[in-house]
């Protein structure tokens, strides 16, 4: 492992450096790229640190849109009074990620573009010697998913899907999907925008091309809106086993929903839209009983093959109820 290290001052400079190398990687906070380097998932010839680019940092509110620069640290998002006020789901989601010491460096852009996590692929560099003895999986250019050879477990998805069984790891991705956020990707050819809920393809790979740089995230702020994020973690500082992000808007009348979006993390390779419960909730006014009834429709297509799946579905329904209630009460 040996690479050049650059610290450009502008986005243009960063994109130019990228085009000058065959296998360069952008380096934001480092809390994802560094473990991948250790696990030998990446072997870049150059790292391009984005830390010196001030235009990528900061949280702004212009009219109906909150713009978050891709290099804004998760700690800044967590402590932002503006976000706590208008989009409480985002600081809550940021708080669930790793520990404060990691969040002091980790950025929202890095969180959205992070590599998928799986013990059979890259989790923990200390067990790399063991992974070297197993058949390479889809992520290592192989043709099997090692996790699929065993029974389903808590670290993998519960919905039925062929291919890689690893869940989408980004908490911010789940939260931003429910809020209907747009990601702005910049390359030498110009900029393109993509909705956050379309940003991931199965297998938890972000739809970002090698020549592109995620520059900012735009989140629409609506009237009479409530949002919440909740996740279940078995212990502090680990990846969420399952998480729910809720964004509701209400009609002028008190408890009648105007729009609703609920996305789950940890159950699918991309943010999982809870379509059936949301359709049920939209049919009438929001009450405690109806939230409970809606949660029973969540993940009802899942084939509960073992207790781990049952547990994950039960936890998902539980945090769905809590998150919807929280968004309902926290409406502004």
């Amino acid at each position: 492992m040996s690479f050049e290290y650059y610290r450009p001052q502008t986005v243009e400079e960063a994109l130019m450096l990228l085009s000058e190398h065959t296998d360069a990687k952008f380096y934001a906070g480092g809390s994802d790229v560094l473990p991948q380097l250790r696990a030998e998932v990446y072997d870049p010839d150059a790292l391009i640190s984005l830390e010196g680019i001030d235009s990528l940092k900061g949280i702004k509110c212009e009219g109906e849109t909150v713009t978050i620069g891709a290099m804004t640290t998760l700690r800044d998002i967590e402590n932002s009074e503006l976000l706590k006020d208008v989009l409480p789901a985002l600081p809550e989601a940021a708080r669930t990620i790793a520990s404060q010491k990691i969040r002091n460096l980790a950025t929202i852009g890095g969180n959205l573009c992070q590599k998928v996590k799986c013990p059979y692929f890259n989790q923990s560099h200390q067990t790399k010697f063991m992974r070297d003895t197993i058949e390479p999986c889809y992520k290592r250019k192989g043709r099997v998913c090692v996790a699929a050879q065993y029974e389903k477990d808590l670290l993998h998805i519960v919905v039925d899907r062929p291919g890689c069984q690893a869940p989408m790891p980004s908490d911010m991705g789940t939260a931003l999907s429910s809020l209907g956020a747009t990601l702005v990707l910049r390359s030498a050819d110009g900029t393109r925008e993509i909705l956050c809920n379309e940003f991931y393809m199965a297998g938890a790979e972000p739809r970002i091309k090698k020549a592109e740089l995620l520059t900012e995230v735009r989140v629409p702020v609506k009237k009479n809106m409530g949002s919440a994020y909740m996740s279940y973690m078995p212990s502090p500082g680990v990846f969420s086993v399952v998480s729910a992000a809720v964004s509701l808007t209400f009609a002028e009348d008190k408890d009648v929903l105007d729009t609703a979006a609920v996305y789950l993390g940890g159950v699918d390779g991309k943010p999982y839209p809870a379509e059936k419960p949301v359709a049920y909730l939209m049919e009438g006014p929001l009450t405690e009983e109806r939230i409970h009834a809606a949660s029973k429709l969540l993940l009802d297509e899942v084939n509960a093959v073992n207790d781990d799946v049952l547990f994950k579905v039960a936890k998902a329904r539980d945090i769905f109820r809590k998150a919807v209630t929280l968004a309902w009460q926290g409406r502004r």
């Binding site: 040996s2 480092g30 072997d43 520990s99 010491k101 460096l105």
Partner: protein
């Protein structure tokens, strides 16, 4: 391996108030630079993955796990390690509180604990118990001496005066 020839960079770190120049490889982590090249042995290499908190240093006023920072990334940064807390033969209030509450067992995690606690108190001199727990999560003590650590930090809440 394809490319194994290391690339070197010269970086400047201000460690505990002294500007120092280090010659580092681009893939070197800050823990190794501080510990092996700088001799700041309070920076422990624990889990090597940002989980255990033993390598915590204060970088630009924020607690970070130094094993998750490349040395080249820290170029120009202002770093405080445990060695920099004691001044004029006087322990820092956080160190003294840890001593008074016997919040030390084997001591391996203690430098990281103290640096994390100090960063918390510098930022928020009156933390609640929840805030203390949240800041100190991912500081592992394998002797499991967490209660006395919490008590030590709690004793400083509200009457902590950071020293210049």
């Amino acid at each position: 391996m394809e490319n194994t020839e290391k690339i070197y960079r010269q970086i400047t770190l201000t460690v505990n108030g002294f500007a120092q120049t280090f010659l580092v490889t681009t893939d070197e982590i800050l823990t190794d630079t501080l510990r092996d090249k700088g001799g700041y042995t309070s920076v422990k290499r624990g889990c090597d993955g940002g989980e255990c908190g033993c390598c915590t240093v204060i970088m630009n006023k924020k607690a970070v796990s130094s094993c998750m920072v490349l040395s080249v990334q820290a170029d120009g940064a202002n770093i405080t390690t445990l060695e920099g807390l004691e001044k004029d033969n006087q322990l820092d209030p956080v160190q003294q509180a840890f001593l008074d509450h016997a919040a030390v067992q084997c001591g391996f995690c203690t430098p990281g604990m103290i640096m994390t606690a100090k960063a918390l108190l510098d930022e928020n001199p009156n933390p609640t118990e929840e805030e203390i727990v949240e800041a100190m999560e991912n500081n592992y003590c394998r002797c499991t001496g967490f209660i006395s650590v919490k008590e030590a930090i709690k004793s400083l809440a509200g009457n902590y005066e950071p020293r210049a």
